[in-house]
Symmetry: C2
DNA sequence: ACAAAAGTGTTGCAAGTACACCCATGC
DNA sequence: GCATGGGTGTACTTGCAACACTTTTGT
């Protein structure tokens, strides 16, 4: 097969995987064992394989060891500064992913609070910043906020998750009004059990999640 | 210098260059002379050079023959389907650009009405659709709509341009109220001359354009 | 005179924001 | 009984949408 005769940069996919846990918005990091940036924390990433769609690379990077299915994935931005990798021209197509608790990820890597990240290798701090910004923006005008939730959830749990993501408190009555009036959720008829408080109605997402 | 040992796709930049002229939203296309898709119209594009930032590739593609400076450029999306180029794995980082009339572009290529495009090569129809969608969305929440204007313009001209981009009429009084109240424009004190109507106030953009 | 665009306010509706109390449960 | 979160309504403000007529200029 003919090949175009042009310089060929390496192309990687870097992944910003988010989850909400313990009142923190967290991202998954891995520790590099080889140069450059050996010993530093970085985003999980990998080279794009032949005949592999970019989304497949992103999925592969996330599920290299753990099986994670039905993960929300969205292309974030492509970072191509010639000096972003000190040894070679590497263009990185960044994606972000959202995992919910029921997907109980147990692959490699460590979850870090986004408000207290260590110094990252490459331009990964910048990539995480971009991802957080996008995530927060989309929370208000899309259904992305529901992806962090398990199949059934209470409005209180939903609100606490959104507050964690946005990093600021939300008014309870206004929040419930907005969620209910937009008809994004349906009552399951069930009630939560346990907890030192009255049982709460359990809701589910009304339809599929729009991006 | 060490090179990563991994498959190396070709990486191109494809550019969706917009302008508004003659009551039409137009994009710049070039006719391919070589396979694949010889004879078809496509977006201007080119391979990313060594040590060249992606934005520089986009600028180079646009100004290969014509000198165009201070063009608004924004990364759109990265298209990486393995079959998007029939001969080779080619990942395309798409950008869109906005030219205003005073930049009087006269390089290669032909301007087409976006509502009447010919059949394009590769996945370029999809790329154009994505760019138009993004452009229309940003018109309402950013200052991108002013980039199509020369340095001084009347509110009528601005409105007609926005209507062309959106493909629907806007209410004159609401439009003027919105523009003025958001303090995006300043009166220059001058008036337009000519035309079978009263002279109109000339405005300029208040500050720099935000993305 | 006529055609063409400039300029100008009010009203109604929808969406968002601020704000406080009682209740059911677990411990 | 006390701590915890569940659940509920109103008033105000702001932004968006609908809607028509007079004025100035060029031909």
């Amino acid at each position: 097969m003919y090949k175009y005769e042009f310089p060929r940069p390496a192309v990687t996919v870097d992944l910003v995987a988010f989850s909400v846990d313990g009142g923190q918005l967290r991202v998954l990091l891995v520790r590099r064992s080889t140069a450059p940036f050996a010993g530093r924390w970085t985003l999980p990433g990998g080279f794009v394989h032949d005949n592999e769609p970019l989304e497949a690379s992103a999925t592969r990077v996330l599920s290299a060891k753990a099986e994670v299915s039905d993960v929300y994935l969205e292309q974030l931005y492509t970072f191509g500064d010639p000096k972003r990798d000190p040894r070679d021209r590497v263009i990185s197509v960044a994606y972000f992913a959202i995992l919910n608790p029921s997907q109980n990820y147990d692959g490699p890597g460590t979850w870090f609070d986004v408000t207290a990240l260590p110094e990252l290798g490459f331009d990964h701090t910048h990539i995480v910043d971009t991802a957080v910004q996008r995530l927060r923006a989309k929370l208000t005008y899309s259904d992305i906020g529901f992806v962090f939730m398990p199949a059934e959830f209470t409005l209180g749990e939903l609100q606490r998750n959104w507050e964690t993501i946005l990093g600021r408190p939300l008014d309870k009555r206004n929040f419930r009004k907005a969620i209910i009036s937009k008809k994004r959720v349906l009552e399951t008829g069930k009630k939560s059990v346990g907890g030192a408080h009255p049982p709460a109605k359990l809701y589910m997402l009304a339809h599929d999640v729009a991006s």
